[in-house]
Structures are given as C-alpha cells and as structure tokens.
Amino acid sequence: MKARRVLAFARKEVLEISRDRFTMGVALLMPLMMLFLFVYGISLDVDRAPLIVVDHDRTAASRELQARFLNSGYFILQAAPEDERSAEHALMRGTARAALFIPPGFSGRLGRGEDAPVQFVVDGTYASTAAILSAYGRAILHAYPEEVRLPLRPEVRVWYNPQLRSRNFIVPGLFAVILMAFPPLLTALAVAREKELGTIAQIYASPLTGSEFIAGKLLPYAVIAYAELLLVVFGGVVWFEVPVRGSVGLLLAVGLLYVLCTVSIGLLVSTLVRTQLAAMLTALIVTLMPAFLFSGFVYPLFTMPPAFQAYASALPTRYFLEFSRGVVLRGAGLGDLWPNVLVLAAYTATVFALATWRFRKRIA
C-alpha cells in the first residue's frame, strides 16, 4: 500500500464530495434530525396516563384517594362517570388507559378498620406500559391511607439515572445507532456510484491496489462520519442536557474507532453490490435495522432468546452502545469497558480486511 496513492485517491474523493452539496447536507443534517425525532418521539417514561374514576362512595376519603392518583403526576383524569359501563366503554375505545372503581361504603369500612376493596383496572394492550401503570397504582394504594407499617422496610435507590429520565438513556444509545445508520449508507453509495457510472473501470485498469482503493475511500468518509458523531454528541449534551458522568474525551476517542468500523461496513457492502439501489437496501438491512432492534437500544438484550443474543453479539452496535451508555450514564472508564473497545478494534480490522479482500479489481 503506497501512502501517496491513497492520499491521491482520498483527495479526489474530497473534491467530489465537496462539490456535491446535497450529499453533504444530507450527511450532516440527517443525523441531527434523527437525534431530535427520536429523543422527542421515543419516550419510555410513563406519565399522564388518562384515568377514569368511578366513585360510588363520594366521601372525603374517596376524594382523597382519587387526589393521590392525580397528584402523583402519572395519571390525569379522563372522566368521572356515574356508572361502570361508561368506564368500560372508555377503556374499550382506548381513550383511557386505566380505571379506578371505588365501591359504596368505602370510607365506612376504612373507618371501621375493615378491608376496604377498591378495583384498579389497567389496559394491558401495551404490556410494558401496563406493567408500569399497575406498579404505580399499587404503590399509591399501598401508601393509603397513612403509615402502613410493614415488618420489612425496603429502601430502593436507583443508581446512575436517579430521576429515571429516559432521555438520558436514549441519547447515548442514539450515538451508536445514528453512526450505524448514516456512514455505512453514504460509503456504500459512493462506491456503487463509481460502478454505475463506469468510473470504476479506470480504477480497475490501473496500478491502484484494492487496499489503496478501500483506504482512500475510507479516510474522507470516516472524517464525515466523525463530524456526525461530534454533532450528535454536541446536540445530546448541550440541547438535551444529558449529563456525561465519564470522560467525554474517552467517548470521542472510542467513537473514532467505531466510526472507522461503520464506514468499513459500508465499504464491505459496496464490494458486494453493483447498483446504488442495491447498496442502499443492503446497507439498511445489515446496519440500520439490526442497530435498532438488536443492539439493546430500546429492547434489552438479556430478555432475548439465546439465538438472538448471539446475533446481537455479532453486530458491532451493541459494543459501542454499551460503551457509550457506560461512559455517559455510569461514568465508567476504560478499566471497566476495555473488552468492548477490544471487540470494536478487532471488528474494524476484520471488516476492513474483508472489504479489501472482496474488492477484486475485476468486472466479474
């Protein structure tokens, strides 16, 4: 591999890219757009769930119970109808997610120290939301009326993200997902474009070797991808105010390795296809789709069947995602996460070698 030829090739790429404002715009704007869409769009926090209250007791005590639900912030009052039937109707239509039924004589029983049954119904259509809502409801009911003395007094603390703000969890995950979405796509298209236009023939019939071609393509696209990383990290920290507990420098350094990895994946894809359309579809299927579903971005990997866990482990996104969340949320350092860095380095080297090997200077 001759450095001079690689640089000459990279220079040509830079000239071409700089004259294609559309691609440049897409390359830099799309990641930011995705960051904003996902942070605002995906919220795993469950609050302001519409609640139906059917109060047959109508006493100070029943109103107090109702107020506890509404003051928790997790529920808002959708309606307070007279009968169960209209409550059921609201649940059926989906206008309410939960319903609280307080039977007549509720405060009387409470006053007498008897069991006072109330019914709390949760719509189970969205299973995870339902589980959270029912836990909230149970917690509120347990704390009522006052001073429930339990023999065991648990003290639960949430570490690393004490407010349980899902944004703090989504944003560092998006660093990994966004960089798997756009850089491979851009790179795969860039090589396929040369194949479609026929400019590749000039490369084939020249002393330029496969590794020089791949390296010359990799460099400028890695720079663009790194700019994307800087943009989304900046957006996450400054705009979304996600606190970074660990070292930003470490995140950006390992980010560079990850960027080289994702760009290499794009190059590998481009050696396998002939047209830009095929490059785009293949890139989406091998990068974006698994990055969403099998990286632990939203769906935790430890709940998946073993086969899918193995599949997820074969993709690089999970390693950087774990790293990014570890550094941002837990303040972890290289001492904790070195295996992830090692896997990423090995992955990058392997994909680059594969791409070089696959890029034969041959038409067929």
């Binding site: 001759k2 040509k12 000239l15 400019t199 023939a201 084939y204 019939a205 020249s206 002393p207 330029l208």
Partner: protein
C-alpha cells in the same frame, strides 16, 4: 516481424451457462492498430476487458505485454491504458483534476508529468478548458480527455472500447489524430468499433458476431477475398431491380444507396442474374460488404426471400405529415433544440444525423407531443403537437433506442399489449397483428420470451409494435444501433416498404453510412439544424465530388463555425 504484444489462444468467457465469447485466437504485434469489429452484443467489450486483465477468461490463454492475464492481472492492469465504453472520468472534477488523478494513481510524478499533461491537453484542444468540470464538456471532449488520461503513463498498449461511439465527426477526427500520434510513438492500439470506416483504417481486424469470430486479417485481404462479389446496379426503376434481387437466390443482401443505385452482395460462385433495364457493374468491396459476407446465413435460405411485400403505386399527391416552424426548447440555460424548421411528406424518409447530444431525440420528443416546444409550432398528421398532443399520439408510431419491449413476454404478447394500448378494437386485433408481423417480417420470433431473441429480431418486433395501430407518421430513434450490417440492411428495406405505403418516417442515427438510405437528411449539431436536403444536393452545395456523408457533415460544421449563416 515485431514481437507479439497480445497473444490469445482459444480465449472464451461464459456467464453461467451462457457463452458470450468463444474460440478467440489472435495476435497483435507492436505498433499495430488492431480493430475488433462487430455489432453490440458481439462480445467486443468482453474481449477487451479480458485483454486489460479486468475480466477473468473462462477458457483459453492470453498473454499481454509478456504477462499472463490470469496469473499476473495486476502486472497487466498497471501497464496498459484502458478506456471503457461510455464515460470513465469523474464528472465533478475539472479537466486538470481528472488528469492529475489519472497521473497520481499511475505513479506519474516529477517534472515530465506537467509537461506531458500540458502537451496532451493542447493536442486534444482541451487546454482552454482546464478548469471546467468534466461533466460540462461535450461528449467528444469527454472522450478526448479520457484518452489523454490513459496516455499520461505512456502505456505501450492502449485498449479502447468504442472510443468514437456517438461522438461528433469533428471530435472523432481529433480523437484519431491523437491516436495516430500515439501510434507514431510506437504504441500498440487495440480498439473496438461498430463503424466500418474505422475498421478499414486498421492494420488488422477481427470480425465478431454473437460471441464468435467471423474473420481475422488485414482489411485489404478481407476485401480482396470478396472482390467480384459486390455489384453496383443502376437503372430507371430501382423498385423493379430490388424485386428482381429479392428472387435471386445467389444474392446475400442488397441495399439502396442515396436513392440512385442499389448495391448487392452475391454468394461466392454465383453470378448476378441479368436484370431487365438495369446496368450492373462490379464495385470495390468495403468493410461493410466484408461483414455482410462474413455474417451471411448458409446458402439457399428456405423461404426467406419474401421480406419486402409487393409495393403499391406511390400516392399521387404527397401531403406534408410533419410541419415544424422555428421549434426551440430550453432546459435551463441549455438550448437543446434551437429554431428547427422541417417538413416531412407522406412516404418520405427524413434522416436526422448528429452526434450524441445534438438534439435529435429531443426534437423527436417534441414532434411526438411528449414535450412542448418553448418557441415555434409543429403540426404532425394535421394536429398541433402542443395543444392536440392526444390526437398526435394516436396517429404516430415511435420506436425508441432501447426498443421498449417487455422482455418476459413473448413477441405475440408484446404485440397484443401494444395493439390494445393503442386502442385497436378486439375484433381487429388478430388481423392487425398479422399485418404488422408480416410488415416487420417477424416469422422467426416464435413463442419464447423476448429476452431470448437476438438483437435483430427484437428490433423488428419493436418496429411491429410501433406500427400495429397503422400510424401515419413513424419516428425511429436510433433503431439500428447494436445490429449487424446484414440485419440493418434488412431493416432498412422494411422501412422503405412502409414509406412506399405512404407513411412519413423520421429516423435518427449516428451511423453516417445509413444516410444513404434516406430521401433527405437533416444534419444536427448543438441543437441546430445545420443542413437539410438530399445528400447529393448537400454535397453539391459544398462542391464535393463524391457524396460522402462524413465529409458533408464536416463541411457544414466548418461553415457553421466560420459563421456563414444558418442552414440554407
């Protein structure tokens, strides 16, 4: 004799079960110009790609510059200059940047690099455009630049895939000037072409058809081999001469030339049967004749004689079916068609000639009612193309360069579809399809999918599809590209028969020799019609003795450049 630069034995290439090239034996010696000649799909590109070591042969051996293309492809790739078909440079880079890149990847450094680059650009007439983007050059200039890029490393062997395809005559001449220079510097040139005049200028040629070698040798030898088998026939009634040739089993093919004479190729050992009221004299064979002989089917083809149907007397009054006045169309700053005024009468064949990008296709789109003219008006079959485009489209037939057929359907299914799409009533369907098939002489189409038909059969099927609704005007956009000469002649006879029925026909082509088949020619360049009229009259106008189309075209380009006014 000089050393062999290229030596191939039994070279072949297959893709899966499909063989695209087989049994190629050839040797090219240092300093030779070697032409690989044949229509599209003959296997020319495949052969050149194997010589450049960028395509692995599936059979045979091949040594290029003393290296085996299989064992040392990198060694071959690094030493040859290879120019692929189409445009192989970066359209977003400037002329100078493209040249610098070509030098960089071929390790051309030091002072000679700048000297050589400047010299090549000057020779190509591109030195004034150093800072222009490659994509903004004309097709001819792009081709010249690609050639310069391949000469930067001074390769001993240049492999060029159809360098002059679709290039204007002036650029073509300049391209060949650069190549002649390269040749005097001792470089060997192997190039592919489908132009027969370029084949004539080679030291040796290989004729290819359907992936098989037809002939190999020096053009003079090949022409000598068929001497005495080519005739020029003149007489008062060319139709009658053609009818006589049609029934003569010794005749391989014949073509009408410039409306005055018929050229016929006769099988070895046969003699031309005398024709009443006609004079036949032996003609000097051209490479086109050679190719016609080389691709001739075996003797006595059964029943293939009735290609042209009997001709009814031509109509007395010839109405104009196309009238365009000052038609122009712009795309942004670019004038694709600039002030074009033409008429075409019933039964007339107008040939539009010009390089790629001259505006031929755009003009046809306007006349078909597919594109509104920015300025000027045009009437086709009596209807305004801008305001009554529906009516126009119902009365025209259009056959595009790509033939627009459905490859997975059979010939009959394609015909049925086009007939239905043009609103042919169900009751007439069968009759119309039979008529169009006979007109296009489609007896060999069979029931298989169109994808498996040969280029020539697909071309005739596309013609049948274009005429199945009996249009009054027929537009043929490069109908003969990629078809061998024999099939092209056959196609032109079908066109002539349609014209004899009274159909007005507009044909575009970049094969200059096909101009001879047209009644009148329109020469186009940069969107303008720079000349219009019968070939012989255009030649007379320039004071040329022989009506050579290329000379006529160059003459009118020259006239344009020196500003002697627009088309007369």
């Amino acid at each position: 004799m000089a050393e062999a630069v290229v030596e191939a034995h039994g070279l072949g290439r297959r893709y899966g079960a499909r063989s695209v090239l087989e049994n190629i034996d050839l040797d090219v010696h240092a300093g030779q110009v070697f032409g690989v000649v044949g229509p599209d799909g003959a296997g020319k590109s495949t052969l050149l790609q194997m010589l450049a070591a960028i395509l692995r042969p599936s059979a045979g051996t091949c040594q290029v510059l003393g290296r085996d293309v299989r064992r040392d492809p990198a060694g071959v790739q690094a030493r040859v200059g290879y120019m692929s078909q189409g445009f192989s440079l970066y359209d977003r880079l400037t002329v100078a940047e493209n040249l610098a890149f070509a030098a960089d990847i071929r390790d051309v450094t030091g002072p000679e690099r700048a000297v050589r680059g400047a010299e090549l650009l000057r020779m190509a007439g591109l030195d004034r455009f150093q800072h222009r983007r490659e994509g903004q050059l004309s097709g001819g200039m792009r081709k010249k630049l690609a050639l310069c890029a391949n000469l930067m490393h001074e390769p001993p062997l240049l492999i060029l895939d159809e360098p002059s395809l679709g290039v204007d005559p002036l650029s073509r001449r300049e391209l060949w000037r650069i190549l002649d220079r390269a040749r005097t510097e001792g470089r060997t040139i192997v190039f592919a072409t489908s132009y027969m005049d370029e084949a004539d200028a080679c030291d040796r040629v290989l004729l290819l058809r359907d992936g098989k070698p037809l002939a190999l040798g020096a053009p003079q030898e090949l022409r000598r081999d068929v001497a005495g088998q080519v005739y020029r026939i003149t007489g008062p009634a060319l139709d009658r001469i053609e009818a006589a040739l049609e029934t003569d089993v010794g005749v391989i093919s014949f073509q009408r030339r410039a409306g005055r004479e018929v050229r016929a190729q006769v099988r070895d050992g046969s003699r031309l049967a005398p024709i009443e009221a006609a004079v036949a004299e032996a003609a000097v064979p051209t490479m086109e004749d050679v190719f016609t002989f080389a691709s001739a089917p075996p003797p006595a083809p059964p029943g293939a004689a009735s290609a042209a149907p009997p001709q009814p007397p031509p109509p007395r009054i010839r109405n104009d079916v196309i009238v365009s006045r000052g038609v122009s169309v712009r795309f942004g700053d670019f004038k694709a068609v600039d002030d074009v005024t033409i008429t075409v009468a019933e039964g007339e064949i107008l040939g539009l000639l010009g390089p790629n990008g001259a505006g031929k296709t755009t003009l046809i789109r306007i006349l078909c009612g597919l594109l509104s003219p920015g300025e000027g008006t045009a009437e086709v079959a009596g209807f305004d193309v801008a305001r009554q485009s529906e009516a126009v489209r119902a009365r025209i037939g259009y056959m595009s360069q790509r033939f627009s057929l459905y490859p997975d359907l059979s010939a009959r299914e394609n015909l049925t579809f086009f007939a239905r799409a043009y609103g042919v009533p169900r009751s007439e369907l069968r009759g119309r399809i039979a008529w169009a098939s006979a007109r296009a002489s489609l007896e060999d189409a069979g029931e298989g999918a169109v994808r498996d038909l040969s280029g020539a059969t697909r071309q005739r099927l596309a013609l049948a599809c274009a005429i199945v609704h009996r249009p009054r005007v027929l537009f043929l956009d490069e109908p003969t590209s990629g078809v061998d000469p024999l099939s092209r002649f056959r196609f032109w006879r079908l066109i002539a028969a349609l014209a004899a029925d009274g159909v007005g026909i507009v044909v575009t082509t970049h094969y200059m020799e096909e101009a001879a088949f047209c009644d009148r020619l329109g020469l186009m360049m940069d969107g303008r019609l720079i000349a219009l009229g019968p070939l012989t009259r255009l030649a007379d106008e320039l004071g040329l003795v022989t009506p050579d189309v290329e000379a006529v075209f160059l003459g009118f380009i020259e006239r344009e450049r020196t500003g002697q006014g627009r088309a007369a």
